[in-house]
Symmetry: C2
Subunit: 317 residues, 2 copies
């Protein structure tokens, strides 16, 4: 059986795109542009919690990096590099080859290098840490939302949760529809270009990983404000729009795994928001507003308040 | 039961020592001094592989950070910050309190901040990524060893392996002796000050995590040289020195988990090496030499060659 060092050499050493020291020394050495701040995020993925055992390893490699890049996007940081720490039950060559293919494909499209990491035996666990850079004071933060700001969201929400409900046997979908929502769950597209374009435009941003209401709750707590969400305005796919209204609301508001950006901007910046989204090639939708009064209100198109649970996804709940 | 966000707030948010954005946004933002390179290392610890279930959580928190700081030390990098990703079978408040205590104590002594991370449910897994800075071109690398250089090692070797053999039931030690070697296994001291002092002095360096022979093999491969190790010169504790010679050699040469620095330096730098070690408050011992001829030779004090296995610890072997 192939050993640890051979596996690393076979699957995780490719020439870096920048003249950095790559995999293979005690540390990776990474250059940061003069005067830039380093932005760091780390996410750990566990089988059964963050992905199903049925996922193709290539998609898993994509998703493990995507959820981390999504955090850089939410800060408006330019991605530079990542490390990968991987625990595997056994040295599975086919798994690693496919996993590496998915990871490197997204890394390549994102212009980043895998610069180091660790491989060990153990229950399947994937921990990726990403590094980006951002000019000091320009990072998009959760704390910047102000009363009167409009709330925006990128892409569409809820498909990943709908796919999960299919896997759980609660919902049945035709094959093509299932593949659509399954792709949303397994191949999320981090909104890096949008995050960069929103620097100086958005007043706050967060990426949607634990569900809209839970993640918005973090923004409200950090910003000391409240919000009103127009549930009927939330962008959704045709597949989700065909489901029962209660299921739609559940997937849209408490779905999780969306990896879209939720951000606020002053009404005067509406054109700038749309220009940023156009430049990034991503649709954005206005879906509510920041209020001075604390708390979170969810209303439908006729202004009726919907009963909602405040909680987002809790990994220990 | 306490939820994920509450646990993070309770155990892993302390005011940072530097005016950085700490835990709680999508990314941590870290300042790097002008013109410095970023040094990054990531290590994943799995129960039964990297630590025993019997370890006190406070010691585990120390060790999880120590093994990462040891990588920065081996590069001669100044530690700045770390992230922690943690998978736990359940939200165990007492475990987390003790784990955080051990981690923060070492972080404090090392002058670094915990700036972010992730917490999730899953089989116990600890992934720490550390960040340091080093002036470009000054990092200690595995590739710099030259024929004629002397080989040095810090501290003493083999106690962690001896402790493991006690846990395995292969060796019996008196209580005080067991506690001595158990501390070596559970509370390794990363040689950060020594690594910094060796910049411009050592020609290569690596930290000893997989056993002297295996780790030295990485240096030899990257540097394109060979080496001769004087086994009788290898520094060892009084506890290890009291064991049978064959066991001593096994623990010293293929022990693993030492987290001491193995480094090379030109003979003309001998005084500079000793001054660096003195300044860092760490003992260093000359234990061999780099040879132009490839391969690794282990000899005793009388120059007789010892039969050795080349292999270090392989996590999939």
């Amino acid at each position: 059986m192939a050993g640890e060092f051979e596996l690393i050499a076979r699957h995780f050493t490719r020439p870096p795109r920048r003249p950095w020291l790559g995999v293979g020394d005690d540390c990776a050495l990474v250059g940061i542009d003069a005067g830039m701040q380093l932005a760091i995020s780390s996410d750990m993925l566990v089988e059964g919690r963050h992905f199903l055992s049925t996922v193709e390893p290539e998609r898993l490699g994509h998703k493990a990096l995507a959820v981390n890049l999504s955090d850089l996007a939410a800060c408006g940081a330019e991605p530079l590099a990542c490390t990968l720490a991987l625990a595997l039950p056994r040295a599975d060559d086919a798994f690693l080859a496919a996993f590496a293919r998915g990871l490197y494909a997204l890394a390549g499209r994102s212009g980043i290098d895998l610069v180091g990491g660790d491989t060990t035996a153990g229950p399947l666990n994937i921990c990726i840490t990403v590094f980006g850079q951002v000019p000091p004071g320009q990072a998009l933060l959760r704390s910047g939302a102000r009363a009167g700001d409009e709330l925006w969201v990128s892409g569409t929400l809820g498909d990943a949760r709908l796919a999960l409900e299919v896997f759980r046997g609660r919902v049945a979908l035709a094959g093509g529809d299932f593949e659509t929502v399954r792709r949303a769950m397994e191949l999320p597209q981090p909104r890096v270009a949008l995050g960069l374009a929103l620097r100086g435009v958005a007043s706050s941003a967060i990426d949607l990983s634990d569900g809209l209401l839970g993640d918005l709750g973090h923004v409200l707590a950090r910003s000391g404000v409240g919000a009103r969400i127009d549930a009927d305005a939330l962008p959704r796919s045709a597949v989700l729009a065909a489901q029962a209204p209660a299921l739609q609301h559940e997937c849209l508001l408490a779905g999780g795994d969306d990896y879209e950006l939720l951000f606020s901007a002053a009404p005067a910046r509406r054109e700038a928001v749309l220009a940023a989204a156009h430049g990034a090639g991503v649709a954005v939708t206005r879906c509510g507003a920041i209020t001075a009064a604390p708390g979170l209100q969810v209303v439908d198109a006729r202004g009726r308040e919907l009963p909602v649970s405040w909680h987002g996804f809790d990994h220990f709940a």
